[in-house]
Symmetry: C2
DNA sequence: TTTTAAATGCAAATGATTTGCATTTGAAGT
DNA sequence: ACTTCAAATGCAAATCATTTGCATTTAAAA
């Protein structure tokens, strides 16, 4: 468990601090994108304590190194997710915000064509699918 | 020109006011998603004046009626776009934020499958492709 | 150990968006 | 047209996620 966090921090080439390790471990422990505050609160639940600013700083750092993806959701809060095991898209419930990862990406094959057609250098994309989850469907 | 704005306001069933018409006309006049402030400034350029709060309120109103789509971009500002002529996706330059509409949607055929597979009622999706535009490529 | 740049915590600042409230206005009914 | 009144606007103040300045702490190189 600790290993991945250490590896990531080593790869980035920054100081291996407890707050950073804790943030990464929380990200590792879930399948869903988390907000900075989600992470902050989970850390508290673990009986530890990391300043919210530090959570943000760690997330920014990792986003800049492309180890974390940041997506601003319609509720105005950003969600963060490790990209270590490749990028993912999600099915998001518009009611309860539950988020289910999707196992494929319809863009992979298309990016090159789209880039060439528009003379862009494509660097990435973001896709989210919205709907009502099984529970919320039934009101 | 005025016709579409009037039609839209009639469809919503709200008061047909000058500020609302002006906001809609600005949205009509462009191909790219605009921020609330973009809209506010363009209205000023037209020599008119609409309060920024009113711009936000008009956009919210229309988003709730599904006549406008709202997307929060990585710069932390939301961009709004008329959906009257169907939804669109965009190629967005990560450097200058220029946005080019894309004429097709790779999701259309997939939504039903994804919904069934995950027991979700799909209501929509959001897709953006990022890259460097022709100008920014050359630094 | 010593040293030092990098990282943290805290409090205050920022900036987009929202809200409360007094005033104005569109449109329904006269 | 005129009256009426809920709905809409403008303005200023509030909100809230995120960022920043700075004094203190800490990882890790020497």
């Amino acid at each position: 468990m600790k290993r991945l966090a250490d590896d990531i921090l080593a790869k980035i080439g920054c100081k291996n601090t407890k707050p950073r390790k804790t943030v990464i471990e929380v990200l590792e422990s879930t399948d869903n994108p988390l907000s900075a505050e989600d992470i902050f609160l989970r850390i508290k639940e673990l009986g530890e304590s990391v300043n919210l600013s530090t959570v943000y700083r760690t997330l920014d750092l990792m986003e800049n190194k492309s180890l974390v993806s940041k997506t601003v959701m319609s509720d105005g809060k950003a969600r963060y997710e490790l990209t270590v095991d490749g990028h993912r898209h999600h099915l998001v419930c518009t009611n309860c915000h539950k988020s289910v990862p999707i196992d494929f990406c319809p863009l992979e094959k298309l990016e090159k064509d789209i880039g060439e057609k528009n003379d862009f250098d494509i660097t990435g994309h973001k896709l989210e699918i919205y709907g009502l989850c099984p529970k919320c469907k039934k009101e």
